[in-house]
């Protein structure tokens, strides 16, 4: 009995010490609560527009994270605008001082205005974008015909103000075109569906009996580690794809039926670097950015909600409360959340276990001096035909003009360049349709338009030094 009591006492003492050391050593950083509450209330009372103290508090977390990786940031969850669906044609991710451009869609407003991957939009119509959430930013764009954005140039750090038109937004996470002996795939952005899209494209390439893939990851700076790891998994031979504080992304051993060429440049970061490292390939272009972060998103409770949850759960600390709610499958209603806190919790280790960093850039096997993406304006069509309906002699439409341009470059049209479907155009359409095995009925139907678009994009994709370098090795 005595011995047991002794053991118990020792255990208890040990536990007490352990708990005490945990309690007193962690979370030493605290601030004067009245002081900041007073300042928040003051700003809320005086500032011209109603901000709400919860939102001011959330935004102030941006300041706490000053000096940390820019992806550590607060974003508001407010959705306050509505309107027709349009955007600027750039994929964005949230950073502390605004929104970073992850990639730019071809022929988009963003592209025409000169925005490039890595630029940060930090003001929109003179409002700071730093505390805005990505959804309210997009919603704001949707409600305007044009916006004045202030942009920090990724190379020089200079700020410039640009007026940019919003346009009907089409989301192409992945562009692809079948070249003569290879499938060309460019990833613009990542979502949960991206790996399925890429899988589908790989399937159609394979169905054509091809085994060469050119995977274009240039000008792509997404920090979506999870979804890019899934894409990398499709073409990896198995093993580790990436590792972060959240865990390791592994895939089973598998046979890969493709020979892959990967295109990268100095703006390839994060997601692009994970894929380039994990997929056995020949790499073309220039050394990558060497920057990847694992970002975790936490809800930021309103003051009322925080008080309620901490009383209800008798737990102090955000992680504790969140775990408690998760364990009980309690949904947190939107009204309890003022925004989200994105915290960069770790860097990212690539497939060979190296931390992706400026010291561990991915260097190309074949250096290419010019890494500009060839099809950004879809030349010679200058924008693809918007496939909406059939055209025949007598039709008047801008699409007719675009089709004429493509037929001109193919060499079957040599009439007047205008928007009128004239007899010269009818002859050209027939000549083209015959050459691809369609019936020469004089109608520019939608499948012919799609063929012309493919031709246009193919021509543009081929007018690209990196693609040419890769194709040169494939021959």
């Amino acid at each position: 009995m005595k011995r047991r009591l002794l053991i118990k006492t020792i255990y208890l003492l040990f536990v007490c010490l352990l708990v005490a050391s945990m309690v007193f050593s962690s979370s030493s950083l605290t601030v004067n609560e009245d002081y900041y509450e007073g300042i928040y209330s003051f700003i809320d009372m005086m500032y011209r527009n109603e901000l709400g103290i919860d939102n001011i508090m959330g935004a102030s977390l941006n300041g706490v994270m000053d000096g940390l990786a820019p992806y550590s940031c607060f974003e508001l969850s407010l959705k306050e605008y509505s309107g027709s669906f349009s955007g600027i044609g750039a994929n964005l991710e949230k950073v502390r001082n605004g929104f970073i451009i992850v990639s730019v869609n071809p022929s988009s407003s963003a592209y025409k205005t000169g925005l490039v991957t890595g630029d940060v939009i930090y003001r929109i119509d003179k409002q700071n974008a730093s505390a805005m959430g990505i959804e309210s930013f997009m919603a704001y764009l949707h409600s305007r015909e044009s916006v004045l954005i202030e942009v920090i140039d990724s190379d020089t750090g200079h700020i410039s103000a640009l007026r940019i038109d919003t346009e009907p937004y089409y989301s192409n996470d992945v562009d692809y075109v079948i070249l003569d002996n290879a499938g060309y795939i460019r990833i613009n952005a990542f979502s949960e569906a991206t790996d399925d899209i890429v899988k589908g494209i790989l399937g159609s390439v394979k169905a054509l009996g091809m085994s060469e893939i050119i995977l274009d990851l240039r000008d792509l700076a997404s920090m979506n580690i999870k979804d890019s790891s899934a894409v990398a998994g499709l073409l990896s031979e198995g093993g580790t794809i990436s590792r972060t504080r959240a865990g390791t992304y592994n895939v089973r051993k598998q046979e890969v039926d493709f020979n892959v060429s990967i295109l990268v440049n100095s703006k390839t970061a994060g997601a692009g670097e994970i894929i380039a490292s994990a997929v056995p390939s020949v790499i073309y272009g220039q050394a990558t950015a060497g920057e990847a972060y694992y970002i975790k998103k936490y809800p930021v409770f309103t003051e009322e909600a925080y008080e309620y949850y901490s009383e209800e759960t008798r737990i102090q600390g955000i992680v504790g409360i969140l775990n408690h709610l998760k364990a009980r499958s309690t949904e947190i209603p939107d009204s309890d959340i003022s925004g989200y806190l994105n915290i960069v919790e770790s860097g990212v280790f690539d497939s060979s276990g190296r931390l992706i960093s400026a010291d561990n850039r991915i260097t190309p096997d074949v250096y290419v001096a010019n890494t500009e993406i060839g099809y950004m304006d879809y030349t010679p069509g200058e924008g693809m035909i918007e496939i909406r309906r059939d055209y025949s002699e007598g039709s008047v439409n801008y699409d007719v003009f675009l089709a004429k341009k493509i037929l001109l470059s193919i060499g079957v049209f040599n009439g007047t360049m205008n928007v009128v479907f004239d007899s010269d155009m009818a002859r050209a359409v027939n000549a083209y349709k015959t050459s691809v095995g369609f019936t020469a009925d004089g109608v520019l139907d939608m499948s012919t338009q799609a063929m012309l678009n493919t031709y246009s994009m193919k021509t543009a994709v081929l007018d690209d030094d990196c693609v040419q370098a890769a194709l040169g090795d494939i021959h």
Binding site: Y36, G38, I39, S41, Y298, V300
Partner: protein, 494 residues
């Protein structure tokens, strides 16, 4: 062993339940802030900057506001007060921009110690008080140069940013910031306003007195590139030209601030006015422009204005430590003030007890007709785009300072200015050197003959005034917006 583990499993939650409430997080918004600061500290891959935490939090808190609202360092706040409220500061009278070699002089105030010492814009200050200023921030350099009135400071200067440094000892003195200047152009008064301080109304009043004496009531007010300043300076200026009219209406969000309508009382003076504006005419300068336009007191000529009608105010904030000390000592919690004395408790904290200030957009003004012009600007009555130099600024830079007579063999900057004007007029002075050569003598004599003055080759006061008058015509002739304003102002009258 197994049993003790069971006991442990039973006891551990108990222990935790007892221990955890000992580190209670507080309530209120401050409590939520602390909870998330702890989350960031625990989870972030990088270490939180605790040294600048207070400033960073407040800067962050303002990140959801507009571009005109931000955190100000105490030195910025102080220089703002110097510039706009007191309209003077003690220093040597230069504005500077940090440069890799030191501080590049961007402008020198008229009649300041630096001006008298011959420092010009384009010079680089490389040292102050024997210490290098290279790599220092603007605020640091300013504090090295500034000091008590009538004390000397030794500065190292690279003339035009090149060559061997020149060491100069300059006496610091009060530098007044002037925002209003005028000249008489033909039969009209041409008034230039470069900004608005609390002293601008007074300055404008002095200028009007001189204009009245000159016997004209036609005034061109040039508000181009005038980015505004204090509302007070603008209201006082408007009161001197409007009579029994509304100047502007202020609309504040905070209920403690009454929405104000500023009016101009009856005014015996009656002026005919044309205002020149451009795309950089903003804020207080737009209040004045709209007040004149909406009340049909005159017309606007030039370009659509900038469109900033939001009104800001700065509020000082104590450091967290000073706040804790003072609130404990006095029981007062309202520690945000506009002046440097804490309200009710009559304490004057030291500069290092202020963390800085928050500058906030607190309201918007409406023109007398009730229009909001934010992001829209004011459309002038007569539109004309023009990109070249502003006539007044050119006149000020090139006119002869009439103070002395000049004759053969003398050397002066005024001689080179006279030569420049003569050359512009087509007289051969043999180059612009500042030396009174025989060629200059002959050119002056020819000019005197052509102007109907006594032709004796001496650059006397009358001749210098005549040259200055010709200079005005030359410079005005190159400024399309000014010429249009003059035409509009004089077309009804004569």
């Amino acid at each position: 062993m197994k049993k003790s583990l069971k006991i442990l499993a039973f006891i551990l939650p108990l222990v935790l339940a007892v221990m955890v409430p000992l580190v209670t997080a507080g309530n209120g918004f401050g409590g939520v802030l602390n909870a998330y600061i702890q989350l960031i500290e625990d989870r972030s891959a990088m270490v939180v900057d605790t040294v600048n935490l207070e400033k960073n939090i407040i800067q962050g808190a303002l990140s959801g506001t507009d571009k005109y609202s931000y955190f100000q360092e105490i030195s910025t706040y102080n220089s703002q007060v110097d510039k706009y409220q007191d309209a003077n500061f003690v220093g040597i009278g230069v504005t500077i921009i940090p440069d890799e070699k030191g501080a590049l002089v961007s402008s020198v105030f008229l009649n300041s110690p630096a001006y008298r010492a011959g420092i010009k814009s384009g010079d680089i200050i490389i040292s102050a008080g024997g210490m290098s200023v290279a790599g220092k921030s603007l605020a640091e350099i300013a504090s090295m140069i500034k000091g008590p009135e009538n004390t000397p400071v030794e500065v190292g200067i690279l003339v035009n940013g090149m060559g061997e440094p020149k060491i100069m000892t300059i006496n610091r003195s009060k530098v007044e910031i002037k925002t209003v200047a005028y000249t008489i152009y033909k039969e009209t008064a041409y008034v230039r306003m470069t900004g608005f301080t609390d002293k601008t109304g007074e300055e404008f009043g002095d200028v009007l007195e001189k204009i009245n004496k000159a016997g004209t009531n036609k005034i061109i007010i040039d508000l181009r590139d005038n980015g505004g300043g204090t509302v007070r300076g603008c209201i006082e200026t408007a009161r001197k030209i409007l009579s029994d009219k509304t100047i502007v209406k202020m609309d504040f969000r905070y209920k403690g601030y009454l929405d104000i309508r500023y009016v101009a009382p009856e005014n015996p003076n009656d002026y005919e006015i044309v205002i020149i504006v451009n795309e950089n005419t903003a804020s207080a300068a737009e209040i004045l422009s709209a007040a004149v336009q909406d009340n049909d007191k005159g017309i606007l000529v030039g370009e659509n204005t900038f469109g900033k009608s939001l009104v800001q105010s700065s509020y000082l904030i104590l450091t967290e430590e000073a706040y804790s000390d003072y609130s404990k000592a006095t029981g007062e919690t309202n520690m945000y003030v506009v002046t440097k004395t804490l309200p009710r408790v009559d304490i004057k904290p030291d500069d290092d007890e202020w963390l800085g200030a928050v500058k906030l957009t607190i309201g918007e003004y409406m023109t007398p007709n009730g229009n909001s012009i934010n992001n829209i600007g004011i459309r002038p009555d007569v539109m004309l785009e023009y990109d070249g130099p502003i006539a007044f600024d050119q006149i000020l830079e090139n006119e002869i300072y009439v103070n002395d007579k000049y004759n053969i063999g003398m050397i002066s900057e005024q001689i080179s200015k006279a030569s420049k004007i003569l050359t512009e007029l087509g007289y051969d002075t043999g180059g612009i050197t500042g030396i009174y050569t025989e060629k200059v003598f002959n050119a002056v004599m020819q000019f005197q003959e052509d102007e109907g003055l006594y032709p004796y080759g001496v650059l006397d006061f009358t001749t210098q005034y005549a040259l200055n008058n010709r200079l005005k015509l030359i410079e005005a002739g190159g400024d399309a917006q000014f010429l249009l304003a003059y035409k509009e102002l004089t077309k009804g009258g004569q």
